[in-house]
Amino acid sequence: MLSKLKLSILIGSFLILAALPMVAESEMIDEPFYIDLMARVMIFSIAAMSLDFILGYGAMISFGHALYLGLGTYAVGIMAHYELTNGWMQLLVCISGTAFIAFILGLISLRTSGIYFIMITFALAQMFYFLGISLEAFGGDDGLPIDTRSEFFSFFDLNETWNMYYLILGTLVVAALVLWKIINSRFGMVVRGSHSNDARMQAIGFPTFKYRLAAFVIAGVVCGLAGFLLGNLTEFLTPEYMHWFRSGELMIMVMVGGMGTLFGPLFGAFAYLMMEDFLANFTEYWQFYFGPILILLVLFAKQGLWGMLPGKEDISDE
């Protein structure tokens, strides 16, 4: 179980998120901009959390995770392009599409491990990025505006800022709970076991490859959902979201939040996007400063924000 402190921070954060639209639009503050900003933060939180699920718990250092973010936006964008705006249908295509691609890529990349795995996930994600660029029908590297947001219920119009926001918040909460359940299930134990010692897990009879592949697919689908939301929020489809740079950013969010702590990446995404925003306001060359900061974080603050909090995260680990 989570420690009391962590649990209260988590619940407190979600309460703040739930109250945010009302506060931001109140007459006192009147900064609706924050709603959009936090919506973005939450989408990247979902993506970072899904990456941490395989990276932190399964030791699969995927350096191409942003691919699924892009695939999600493409699912929405391409279907909207052909005027298929039914949200349920889009969701179905998004989930089955990301699951299928994650399955195929997992079959290829999970045959390897270590450095090979990093490089292969990296290269395969770039392949889709280049594919996106070469698809002139969907805007090539310029991307394509998404004219219509997904349509779910007649009473739940995603063009309303609040509806969009609460859909994202709801997805975040559900994704966090589901992943937390999975991690603490028997399935999650096997994945974590193969993290600590794959050979031993196989020796006691677990076909760890299958378990790892399933985890890889789950992470891909959850990240695809984040992409689904991102496409709806930004109303734009672009191969940019699949670029390896984004994958790197997701890894940074995971590390800043705390690797192998499911909820850490939520705060990692927040911290990273705020830091980027802050530095970019302060200088045109923000990466010049962020690069060395990142190196220092890796060297000296590896445990991440969540990891710095007292109290053990995990139920079973020693």
């Binding site: 990276l55 250092i61 350096f63 290829i108 045959r111 390897t112 270590g114 450095i115 090979y116 990093i118 490089m119 292969i120 990296f122 290269a123 395969l124 770039q126 392949m127 280049f130 594919l131 660029i133 070469s134 698809l135 002139e136 029908a137 390896w244 790197g248 890894m251 940074i252 590390m255 690797m259 060359y285 923000w286 990466q287 010049f288 962020f290 690069g291 060395p292 900061i293 990142l294 190196i295 974080l297 890796v298 060297l299 590896k302």
Partner: protein
Amino acid sequence: MLGTHGVLGMTLLLLIEQFLNGMQFGVFLFLISAGLTLVLGIMNVVNLAHGSLYMLGAYFASTFFGLTGSLIVSLVLMIPVMLLVGILIELVVLRTLYERDHMDQVLATFGLILFFNELVRIIWGVEAQPLTLPMWLSGNVEILPDAPYPVYRLVIIGVGMAVAAGLFWMITKTRMGMLIRAGASNRPMVGALGINIRFLYTMVFGLGAVFAGLAGLMAAPLQSVESGIGEDMLIFAFVVIVIGGIGSIRGALVASLIIGIFETVGRSILPVLMLEIVDSEAAQTAGPALASMLVYILMAVILFFKPQGLFPARTG
């Protein structure tokens, strides 16, 4: 009158030309991946910033060429500078990462990329840096009757092959090469035998930096020198290393040429070929799309049969 024979001849010439272009691209890939594969194989460090060294090489080349007007002098100046840059990076950042896990190495060297990409924008500005070829390199030669080919590209192929030969000689015949190979098989043992393994690492890293810089220098007249050009090459270098096998120079050479030729010939032939097979509309979309995926599909196929690459290094 162009008969069937003439058309075939044209196609053949085009194919030869594209083949040579592919070799030339393969040489660039080899120069970049040779250093990277040594670093990966011996030091077990993932260095994303290796592409930045290629970029720096190209920038230094354009500056030195602007100052001196001679490509040879630029080359002579660039070698010690890149060696120094490589040694500095190794001492300041990489050295702290040897004992860390791959995740840390990826993130820290990602930080290096951000730093260098922005650094060149600060120093050289955002515009692409010009570098025009000197007269003696800008001509054509007839490789076959009526088939002119740029001299410079042939020079690149020649230099690349010479470097490959030199590297093989160094790895297999010299004391340093022996130490490198020994270090790859058993690091602590080499250290225990009284070899300064840290110094060896630093030198290998510096050497890799010089090779990447050399590729950057040779590529500078052919492409626009801008911030971020290293990363495109890095992706190909990763594919090369994965196919060739980590730590294997021989694998890097073979895989570089395979990838270079596949990429170049595929990009020029595949769209045309697709037009022949399927109706034009579908082909216009599918041709370029497939061409851009070709190399990765090749990688996936090779990995499916040989997960350790074509030339797996003898030891883990």
